[in-house]
Amino acid sequence: MNVTPRSAAAILSLSLAAAVLAGCSEQAGGGNGTAAAGEATCEPSKVRLVGQVRNESNPYEASWLAGGDEFAKSVGLTQERLTYDGDSTKQQEQISQILAGDTKCLVMNVLPNGDSDTPPIVKGADQAGAYLVTQWNKPADLKPADYKTWLSHITYNGVESGQQIGDALATAIGGTGGIIALQGVLDTAAAKDRFVGLQNSLKKNPGVTLLDQQAANFSRAEALTVTKTLLTKHGDHVKGIWAANDDMALGALEALQQAGKAGKVAVVGIDAVPDAVTAVKNGTMTATVSSDGSWQGGIGLAIGFCAATGKLKVEDIAAANRAFFAEQFLITKDNAGEFAAPKTNPADFECGNVFNRVAGPLT
């Protein structure tokens, strides 16, 4: 739950005030932005690093912040950790507060709550001349290349990961048999893309049939109930379970255990949360896909740090690196050991290497 009760009047007046401010300061702000991006190079010790995610109550975002800490430590700084409990208003407030301070050498690595939360963050950072890297969510028509200090937007190709685990599942069940799919929150891009990936995989593996697909909203508890229901509906026809994220895959594993089918049905997920990686290592789960949360937490700060200290010129960043799909990794029993403990590789964060994981431009 993330309801922050506040009178509607307060919100209205705040947003009005914000709109007025934004309108008034647009021209003046543009000038500042140029100044900061163009000539200023900051002393490495003067750079301020901010990492912002939804909350620390899930392993993925916790590893993100941990990765940010590791990068900050490697350059002798500390990361300011912000969490907004999945509350868009709170996220904007935190950003405004940060931007109200000294923004000359500010570097922000932000996970916007949703697509529509990105534009105000980008505008605010642009006016303040703060270096910004966003991840996962942005509207398609908003492009970092049109801004001076919005260095990059990083996301992952959900179609690809959905297909990777679909193929791994098909292999695990020997290429023939029925599977069921657990979808995420149906109106999110992640859920849609990953499911398209599954459909591509089904075309490639004609022996595999999709018996049923249900939404379990990325939730472990919902996946448990839905899987139990689907297991009673389809019985022994279910040979595999495709889940759009690991939490649901773990819920499905519990359901299998409760139905006395543990080990008889293959399960795949996406995200590589620690429990899922352990399950893959033990063989109870077939595969998962890692976006490498700790790398995400570090890389956004690293790109910003390199730009702020002048080691990376904004105009030198290739267009394809301003918004890109990052490389993701299929984890199976063979390589699960390497992913068991989330850790970062300092070499990834060196200014010459920050774009090494670009898998393709975001179109």
Binding site: E56, L186, A215, K233, Q258
Partner: protein, 331 residues
Amino acid sequence: MTSEVVTAPRRQSRRGAAFRDAGPPVALIVIFAIFSALSPQFRSTDNVQNIVDAAAVLAVVTCGITFVLMMGSIDLSAAGVMGACALTVSLLVANNRNDNGFGLLGIAVAVLLGCAFGALSGLALVLLKVPSFMATLGMSAVGLGVATLMFAGVQPNITDTMVKGLAIERFLGFSYLTWIAAVCVLLGWLIQRYTRLGRYAYAIGGAEEVLALSGVKVKPYKVAVFALAGAFYGLGGVMVTSQLGAGLVQAGDGYDFSAITAAVVGGTLLTGGRGGIPHSAVGVLLVMVLTNGLVQVGVSPYWQGGVEGLIVVAAVAAAVIPQRRRNQVVK
């Protein structure tokens, strides 16, 4: 003080009361019959067991919330309290984060913690005069905060075979959790029917002033009702932990409103003084039959949310038509 409770005068006859209460069970039977006709898998023994098993946690949480609703208050703290209790129990029984292994004692501590959260909500209500809506919403946030602190970035997975076994082992075809839920429903009903606490909760919802005027100190009972509800949420959190095999901050996600829905669908009025545990139990089954049935008959997931909402509204409408005149919720 006498143990007799002053009940608000009712105009309906006994026969009227019976008719009034018949709505939800009839709706349950009708919906069950429709799904059974549409899907042979739905009426299989396996699936009926599955529905009842799936209803266990919601039943326990709804038991708690019913007492609060009967009293005419509202309780939105379930999500936070369940989260805090889920983390507590998962860190106290054998787990992968520390060397604890308190077993049953761990469960008891979690339930007591839930009870304490409930008592705090109740105290905020009676001492600080915070409306129950806000007091419990705040308590939910506190619970989630406490849970997040205990979570500390690493999910605690339970290795305690007893706690995990509650969800997996079966007795007479049903999981142990289901039996626990059945005991809770029975216990809740006994409290409601035979203890002063239960009967006063009822009376506070019906006519608090009358009760106060007849010399009853209402406040302690209000706090006690919230504490009782909190204990049920705590147990609910333990049960979710057993089902999922791990302590999740989000253990109680959505249970606050599902429980209120189940209670209202079952015929408990949000204004208090009407309904009770048996009503809520029927409501819980109605909600679970609905979610399960829609999957079994193959309604597309894109349609399910909407269809489920419509059926819930229709079921509540059908249930309250006989009492439309008295139903103060419909304003």
